[in-house]
Structure formats: structure tokens, C-alpha cells
């Protein structure tokens, strides 16, 4: 019921409310009226009944007084029968003994203990008791029951009247409330509709004009209207603010864009400037490099002619002048060489050429180069190498040599007494593939001021107050060293105390350990330069004639009989025909490739164990295992050098060294070996301006024949002057040149520079 009421719309609710109120009010009023009427009716009927009863009683007093009770009953019947409302009557004598009775329907009736003149309405009947008197004296009592039929009909009439009034009033109130409820519901409905519209739309419309009354709904309506007006005002303000904000954002964006553009243009300018600067630097470096080269040529002439003049002039004063000229020229040349190096580094022209080197051998070589100088200055020289350092490290030998050369050269230069030490230590190993190395060069020289630690690595910087005249040098050595170390991925640092000495420390990280073990045998390789295999036969299978010819040339003096085959098939035939001791097999050949040929040869029982060496041009990672799986015993990578071939052949063929007198590098120059004054003087002769000029020329041109000539000349001079180091160098260079080993030639030519430096220090 309540939920039904809740779900009604407002106007129905109001109507229902008003109707319910009027219904209850009316019902209450009518009910009270009905009760009042009934009470009044009851009083009336009681009065009537008592009158009737009194008459009956009066009529019976004779019978009572004379105890004529039978007659009394007859009389009673007669009397009551004429009054239809009476259904029962009973007479009591003065002693309250019932004496006569009248019963209309002969039904059993229930009597109540009433006092005289008392009445009781029960079940639509009126019970009434009254005294019977004679001459004012009570002589008995009469009890009557009447049907209060008149009352009932009265009540019924009343009920009918009430109902009809109710109906009329309700109908009337319905129409009235339908009209009246509009005064309340209409503004509320409009408000509700308005709020719904408000919540559904983004726009705020001001509530429209309405007949506003002064009651609370009218106040609510007008307040709401005020509120909407304010809301709209705020909305407008907000919109304005938003617009302002948007405008500001747009302006800000514009200014930002402008700034961005400016920044971009600035950026472009900067990039352009940077490029220009870089180009300028590069140009500068290139210019320097070119200029250095250009300067060197006339300088060489100056030095060369000075040398000539020295030999021609006897006058000691003039000779000393010429010595000054030559010394200055040499210094200038050195300076130019250093500038050239630095320029190359800064121009990014230096590229590392890492390969397997034996650092032990390098240290020995450098030590032997400086031995002369050290002995002339009466210094002690110590070399300590950590034995755990692998022999085969992948490093740029030329550059490492240059670094060590610079550091040790400096150490010797700035040390007048005491000792110079070179220590190579293993810092850590990463698996078997990589190592970290630390190289210390320690001296007991003049030392470096703490403030100059960083300065000394800058170009053209020497320690403040350094006596340039005394020590000479360009001030570029450490700068170049530092750059080189950094290019190699390491670092360099210095610790020093004035007048006590310095320690330069180089750390090289992640130095790869070569898996190519051949380097270990490098010494032996060189040892077997002129090796003899005593009438052994080898077969070379290669479709390119020149390749076969080259190898034949390499092995010309080795006492080997070389048979050529033009393809795989030919190789099989020739093998069967000549029965060689070893086969060099090219992989890529027409008709039948090397792999097929090898398999076929292995299939022949006689040759199942014959050593077959693959020659491959493959740039892919070569692995001995792979070739062994196919059936090869070993492999050589193109281009094949003589050393490589010999080195490989000695593994498989019996051999002997024919020339024992041949230079053997393993005859090491120990650091303590004392160089004779004679030797040093010879060295100075060797590094004459003529030789140096030739050196420059061959370095610049790179023609093999020129190099050969240069090497031969150097060899003859060094042998004449009994200078072992240079003789060794010359022979190596000659050998490399004869075998067109370009890399080796480059390395050796650089080395020449170092040897020269070490002697001139």
C-alpha cells in the first residue's frame, strides 16, 4: 500500500492525500454523530419502555397484592401481546420471588441481575427492570426484554445517510483537490522538469517566469530561479575564464613554437658551427700533416748536406757549427715527426691494427734498443714480466712499441743516476679469452711536480721550469702516448715526487688472448727461415697458376720437390702418380673442389694418412676442428706467407736447419749487455741524413723494390759498423720486402724510427 503510494506521481499523491484526510475527518465526525444519536435513541427507548413497564406493573398490583398469580400471568399476556416490542416479561413479588412470566417466542432467555429502573442493551434487545408500586409503596418488580427494533432501524438509516454523505463529500473533495493540488504540484513538477533538463544538457537556462505565490513552494521556486541565474552567471564566468585560459594557452604555444623555431635555428647554427669547427680541426690536422711532410723534405736536405760538409771540413770551429746545425735539424725533424703523429691521431687517421703479438719479445726488443743509452748514462735497468701473462696477446704492436718507447725514453732522459724499471703485471683474467694488463715505468729521475700531473699529458707541455735545453724533446711524447693508450681502451696515470722519481702506469683492459698458437712459434718460424726438407715431395693443388708459382718460389730454397695440380681431379691423379709426402689443397677449384678431392684421396688406402693442408680464402671464422672433420690435417689462410707455409710444413715433414749462421733473433740482447762506444758511434753513422732521407722516401712511396734497396744498403752499413740491432732490422726488412709482406714492412719501417730515436736520445 505504502509502496503503491510512493510510486504515484505528485499530483495523484496530493489528490489522494486530500481525499484521505477528508475521508477520515468525515468518517470520524459521522461515527461520533452516530454514537451520539444512538445514545439518544437508547435513552428514548428506555424511557418509553419504562413507561410501558410501569403501566403493566400498575395493572398487576391487584394481582400481586391479592396473590392472584395465575390471573397476573393472564393479565400480563394480554397486556404484553398488545405491545409487539415486548418479547419477555417476569414478575417478582415483594420478596423477589418470581411469580409470573410472559415469553413471546417460548425461547430460553438469559436474564441479568439488574436493579430497579436499570436498563441494558444486549444483542439488539433492551433489558429493563422496574419496581411495581401501589400507593407509592413497592409491592414487587417487573423484568422486561424488548426488541430495540426502532433503534436498529434508526441505526441503519443513520448508516445509509452517512454513506451517502461520505460519497458526495468524497466526489466533491476529489474534484476540489484535483484543482487545488495544482497550486502545489505544478511549480514542483516544473522545477523537477527543469532540473532534469539541467542535468541532461550542458547549457544552463534560467528558470522561466511562473505565477509565484508567497508560500514556501513559491519561495523555493523563486530561490531556485535565483540559483539558476547565479549558476548561469558562474557558467558564463567559467566559460570566459576557460576562453581566457585557452587564449593564453594558444599564445603560450605560439611563443613556445617561436622559441622552438629559434632554438632549432640556433641548433642548426650550432651544428653548423660544430661541423665547421670539426672541419677546421680536421683541416688543421691535415694541413699539419701535409706541412710536416713538406717541411721534412727540405729539412732532410739541410741535414744531409750538413753531414756531407762535416766530412769535408777540417776546421774544428766550423765543424762545431755544423754539429749545431745538424743537431738542431735532427731536433726539428723529431718535432715534426711527433707533430705528424699527433695530427694523425687528432685527425682520426690512426687506426689500430691489432694482431697476435708476444709482449715478452716486444719488451726484449725495446730493452735492447735502449741498452746503449742506459749503459752510456750508467743507469741500472730492470725488467720484470709477470710470467702469467700469455705470450699471444692481440694488440697493436707498433703502437704499443711506440708507447713503451716514449715512456722508457723519457725515463732514461730525465734520470741522471739510479735506475729505470719496466714492470708488466697481470691485473686479472676473464676466462681464457681476455686479460687486463698493467705496465709500470719507474725511474729515479727529476720527478714531476704534483700540479703538473695532468699538464704533462697535454701537447707541447713540459714540466714548468724544465730545462728544455738540457733535456730537449718536443713535449709531444706524453701527449701522443696518452692518446694512443686511450685509443687502445686503456688509461695512463703518473705518480711522482720531485727529485726522487716518477712512475708512469698504463692499464690496458680486456686485451684479447689469441687462440692462434702459431705466434708462440714465431721465434722458431724465423729460426727456420732457411730450412731444408731434403728431397721431400709436396703437391700443390690450385687452379690459379700464379698462386702455385708463388708457393713454388717460397719453397725454392727448401729442398722440396713441388708438383702442381690444376684442380681436384688432377690432384687425385698426380697424387697417385707422384706419391707426394704432403698435399697443399686449395678449397675452391673447378671440376672438383678441395673438399671432394681430399675425400677421394683419403678413400685411397695408400693415402689415408697423408697430410693434407687446406688453403682457404674464407673470411669466416676458421677452425681447425672443422677442417679436421672434413679430412684435412691443418689449414692455411690466404694470403699465404712463406713463414706460414714453412711453419705448417715443419709440423708434418722431417727437416733440418741448413744455415746455422743465419741471424737468430733468439740470441737475445740482454739489458745488461754493454754497448761499446764504437758501436754507438757506428750507429750514429748509420742514421745519417742520407739513410734517413731514403727511409722517408721508401716510407712515403712504399715501393717494394725501393725498400729492398734500402734494406740492402742498411744491411751493408750496419754490418760495416758492426751494429747488431740494425743488422737484424735490415735483414728482417729485406726478408719482408722480398716476400712482399706489406704488414711486416710497415711494422719494421716504424720500428726503424724507434731505433733511431733510442740512439739519438
Amino acid at each position: 500500500m505504502l509502496s503503491f503510494y510512493k510510486n504515484l506521481n505528485l499530483s495523484s499523491k496530493l489528490t489522494l492525500m486530500m481525499m484521505m484526510v477528508s475521508f477520515f475527518a468525515l468518517t470520524t465526525a459521522l461515527t461520533i454523530k452516530a454514537y451520539y444519536d444512538m445514545d439518544k435513541d437508547k435513552g428514548e427507548i428506555v424511557r418509553l419502555t419504562s413507561v410501558v413497564t410501569k403501566i403493566i406493573g400498575d395493572n398487576l398490583s391487584y394481582h400481586i397484592i391479592f396473590d392472584k398469580y395465575d390471573e397476573a400471568e393472564e393479565t400480563l399476556e394480554k397486556l404484553c401481546f398488545n405491545i409487539p416490542d415486548i418479547v419477555y416479561a417476569r414478575i417478582y413479588n415483594i420478596n423477589k420471588v418470581p411469580v409470573s412470566e410472559y415469553n413471546l417466542y417460548n425461547k430460553k432467555v438469559e436474564l441479568y441481575g439488574l436493579l430497579d429502573n436499570e436498563s441494558l442493551f444486549i444483542d439488539g434487545f433492551l433489558h429493563h427492570k422496574q419496581s411495581i408500586t401501589n400507593r407509592g409503596k413497592k409491592i414487587g418488580s417487573i423484568y422486561v426484554i424488548t426488541t430495540a427494533s426502532s433503534i436498529q432501524s434508526r441505526i441503519y438509516d443513520n448508516f445509509k445517510l452517512t454513506l451517502s454523505i461520505l460519497m458526495v463529500v468524497l466526489i466533491f473533495s476529489y474534484f476540489l483537490s484535483r484543482v487545488l493540488q495544482k497550486f502545489i504540484s505544478n511549480p514542483l513538477i516544473r522545477l523537477a522538469e527543469y532540473t532534469r533538463k539541467l542535468s541532461n544538457s550542458n547549457e544552463i537556462e534560467v528558470l522561466d517566469e511562473f505565477n509565484e505565490s508567497k508560500d514556501s513552494i513559491g519561495i523555493l521556486y523563486s530561490e531556485f530561479k535565483q540559483m539558476t541565474i547565479k549558476l548561469r552567471m558562474r557558467e558564463n564566468e567559467k566559460n570566459q575564464l576557460n576562453e581566457e585560459l585557452e587564449n593564453r594557452v594558444v599564445e603560450r604555444t605560439k611563443s613556445l613554437e617561436l622559441m622552438n623555431r629559434k632554438l632549432e635555428s640556433t641548433n642548426k647554427i650550432l651544428i653548423k658551427a660544430k661541423e665547421e669547427a670539426e672541419a677546421a680541426t680536421k683541416a688543421k690536422s691535415e694541413f699539419l700533416a701535409n706541412m710536416s711532410h713538406e717541411i721534412r723534405t727540405p729539412l732532410n736536405a739541410v741535414i744531409g748536406f750538413t753531414d756531407l760538409l762535416i766530412n769535408m771540413i777540417e776546421d774544428s770551429i766550423q765543424k762545431s757549427y755544423l754539429d749545431s746545425i745538424r743537431a738542431s735539424g735532427s731536433n726539428l725533424l723529431m718535432l715534426i715527426n711527433d707533430i705528424l703523429d699527433l695530427s694523425k691521431i687528432e685527425a682520426g687517421k690512426i687506426k689500430l691494427n691489432p694482431e697476435s703479438i708476444d709482449i715478452y719479445k716486444l719488451v726484449e726488443e725495446i730493452s735492447s734498443i735502449f741498452s746503449l743509452k742506459i749503459s752510456s748514462k750508467n743507469l741500472k735497468y730492470n725488467v720484470v714480466i709477470d710470467r702469467n701473462i700469455p705470450h699471444n696477446l692481440i694488440l697493436d704492436e707498433v703502437r704499443l712499441r711506440q708507447i713503451l718507447f716514449n715512456l722508457i725514453g723519457n725515463a732514461i732522459k730525465f734520470t741522471n743516476s739510479g735506475e729505470v724499471s719496466l714492470r708488466v703485471n697481470l691485473l686479472s683474467t676473464l676466462g681464457n679469452s681476455f686479460v687486463d694488463i698493467r705496465i709500470d715505468v719507474e725511474d729515479t729521475g727529476i720527478g714531476i711536480d704534483r700540479n703538473s700531473y695532468t699538464l704533462i699529458f697535454d701537447a707541447f707541455m713540459q714540466q714548468e721550469g724544465q730545462n728544455t735545453k738540457k733535456y730537449g724533446g718536443t713535449g709531444l711524447g706524453l701527449a701522443i702516448t696518452k692518446r694512443l693508450v686511450e685509443i687502445m681502451g686503456g688509461n695512463i696515470s703518473v705518480k711522482s715526487e720531485l727529485n726522487k722519481g716518477s712512475v708512469f702506469t698504463i692499464n690496458l683492459f680486456n686485451v684479447e688472448v689469441s687462440k692462434d698458437l702459431s705466434i708462440l712459434n714465431e721465434d722458431d718460424e724465423k729460426k727456420y727461415l732457411n730450412i731444408s726438407f731434403e728431397n721431400r715431395k709436396i703437391l700443390i693443388a690450385d687452379d690459379v697458376f700464379l698462386n702455385r708459382k708463388l708457393i713454388e718460389e717460397y719453397l725454392k730454397d727448401s729442398g722440396l720437390v713441388v708438383i702442381g695440380a690444376v684442380d681436384g681431379k688432377d690432384a687425385i691423379i698426380k697424387t697417385e702418380e707422384f706419391n707426394p709426402d704432403l698435399i697443399l689443397m686449395d678449397i675452391r677449384m673447378p671440376v672438383m673442389n678441395g673438399v671432394e678431392a681430399t675425400k677421394n684421396i683419403r678413400a685411397i688406402k695408400k693415402f689415408s694418412d697423408i697430410p693434407i693442408i687446406a688453403i682457404t680464402a674464407s673470411v669466416l671464422q676458421n677452425n681447425l676442428d672443422n677442417y679436421q672433420k672434413i679430412g684435412f690435417n691443418g689449414y692455411l689462410k690466404k694470403p699465404v706467407s712463406r713463414d706460414k707455409i714453412i711453419n705448417e710444413l715443419i709440423k708434418w715433414l722431417p727437416w733440418k736447419n741448413e744455415n746455422k749462421n743465419y741471424i737468430n733473433i733468439s740470441e737475445k740482447v740482454t739489458v745488461h749487455e754493454v754497448m761499446s762506444e764504437n758501436e754507438i758511434g757506428g750507429l750514429k753513422k748509420i742514421f745519417s741524413s742520407e739513410i734517413k732521407e731514403k727511409y722517408e722516401k721508401v716510407t712515403a712511396s712504399g715501393f717494394i723494390n725501393e725498400i729492398v734497396d734500402f734494406a740492402k744498403e742498411l744491411l751493408s752499413i750496419s754490418e760495416k759498423n758492426n751494429c747488431k740491432i740494425v743488422t737484424q732490422f735490415a735483414k728482417e726488412l729485406l726478408s719482408s720486402a722480398e716476400h712482399s709482406d706489406i704488414e711486416q714492412i710497415d711494422r719494421l719501417l716504424l720500428k726503424f724510427n724507434e731505433i733511431e730515436k733510442s740512439i739519438l736520445l
Binding site: 395493572n59 391487584y62 396473590d67 413479588n93 415483594i94
Partner: protein, 173 residues
């Protein structure tokens, strides 16, 4: 209480032995009849101020003197009762209720004439006396007691008889 005792007496007489004593019953009836008779109130007041109901028997006393015994304890209209026995007509004036004995049939005319206009109720128990001028004649048969009222005599007297009574009595002229 009084009525209760009377009623018992009545029942004894009526039901148990009608013949026990008819006059005891009739004696009690004087009391009851008085309830329906209107006397002028002043006649009961004596010279000394007291009130007394005077019941007189004229002629032979059929009650054999028991009236005095009965009304010694009972009252009529709330008054003490004095019983008088009269032989002289002149003495009739001094009573309120005069019982005329059956022996006085000859003197009936004189008696009726004597009480006319006076506040005296004449009562008898003899058949025919009512028609002859006695105001109230009490008769009894097998059905019980019933009354005869002489309306003329009543009209001629200074008393009145209640209609409640007359309604159930036989009325003669």
C-alpha cells in the same frame, strides 16, 4: 415480612385446608383491600394526634374474636388498628371500615343509609349484600376469592375505590 407471613397464612388456608378457617383469610383481606381504597387522610387523626385505623364489626362476629389477635400485630395503611364491635347504628360513624355481618340482612338499608356521604368503607361476605348497597362484598368459591363492588354506594360515600381494583371486581349498581 408482614406480607410474607400473611402469604404463608394465605397458602395454608387456600391450599392445605380451605375449610380451616375462611374468616382468617377474610380478616387478612381487610388489610389488602385497604390498599385500593382512598380515605380522606384527616379522618385517621385522633384528638391526641395519633393515627389509628378503626375496623368495626356490626352484628354477629363471624371472626369469633380473632380479628383483634390478628390485627394486634398487623397494621392497615401503616396504622395501628383498633377493632370495634358495634350493635348500634349511631356508633357506625366512629369507624373507617365497617364489616357488616350476614346476621344484619334486615338492617342493611338502614346501614347503607347511615354511611352515605361518610368516609366509611362497608364490607360484607354475604351473597347478595353487594347488590343491596354494601360497597365491597368478598365472595369465595372453589376458584378462590373475588370481589363485588357497588358503584353507587361508592359514589355516594366520601371514599373512592381504585380502578386497579375495580378492574378485577364485579361491579354492580
Amino acid at each position: 415480612m408482614k406480607y410474607y407471613l400473611l402469604s404463608i397464612l394465605f397458602f395454608f388456608n387456600l391450599i392445605l385446608s380451605q375449610s380451616v378457617d375462611e374468616y382468617d383469610l377474610k380478616a387478612v383481606y381487610f388489610n389488602r383491600i385497604s390498599e385500593f381504597i382512598n380515605w380522606p387522610d384527616s379522618i385517621f387523626v385522633k384528638k391526641d394526634g395519633s393515627r389509628k385505623f378503626i375496623l368495626a364489626v356490626y352484628g354477629e362476629d363471624p371472626f369469633e374474636g380473632r380479628l383483634r389477635t390478628i390485627y394486634n400485630n398487623y397494621k392497615i395503611l401503616d396504622m395501628d388498628v383498633e377493632i370495634k364491635y358495634l350493635d348500634e347504628l349511631d356508633d357506625i360513624n366512629e369507624c373507617h371500615l365497617l364489616f357488616v355481618s350476614s346476621s344484619e340482612e334486615r338492617n342493611l338499608k338502614k346501614i347503607v343509609k347511615q354511611v352515605r356521604g361518610k368516609p366509611i368503607l362497608t364490607v360484607s361476605d354475604t351473597e347478595g349484600f353487594g347488590e343491596k348497597g354494601i360497597m365491597l362484598n368478598i365472595l369465595a368459591d372453589s376458584k378462590g376469592v373475588h370481589f363485588v363492588v357497588n358503584k353507587t354506594s361508592e359514589k355516594n360515600s366520601a371514599i373512592s375505590i381504585s380502578t386497579r381494583f375495580m378492574k378485577y371486581a364485579k361491579v354492580v349498581e
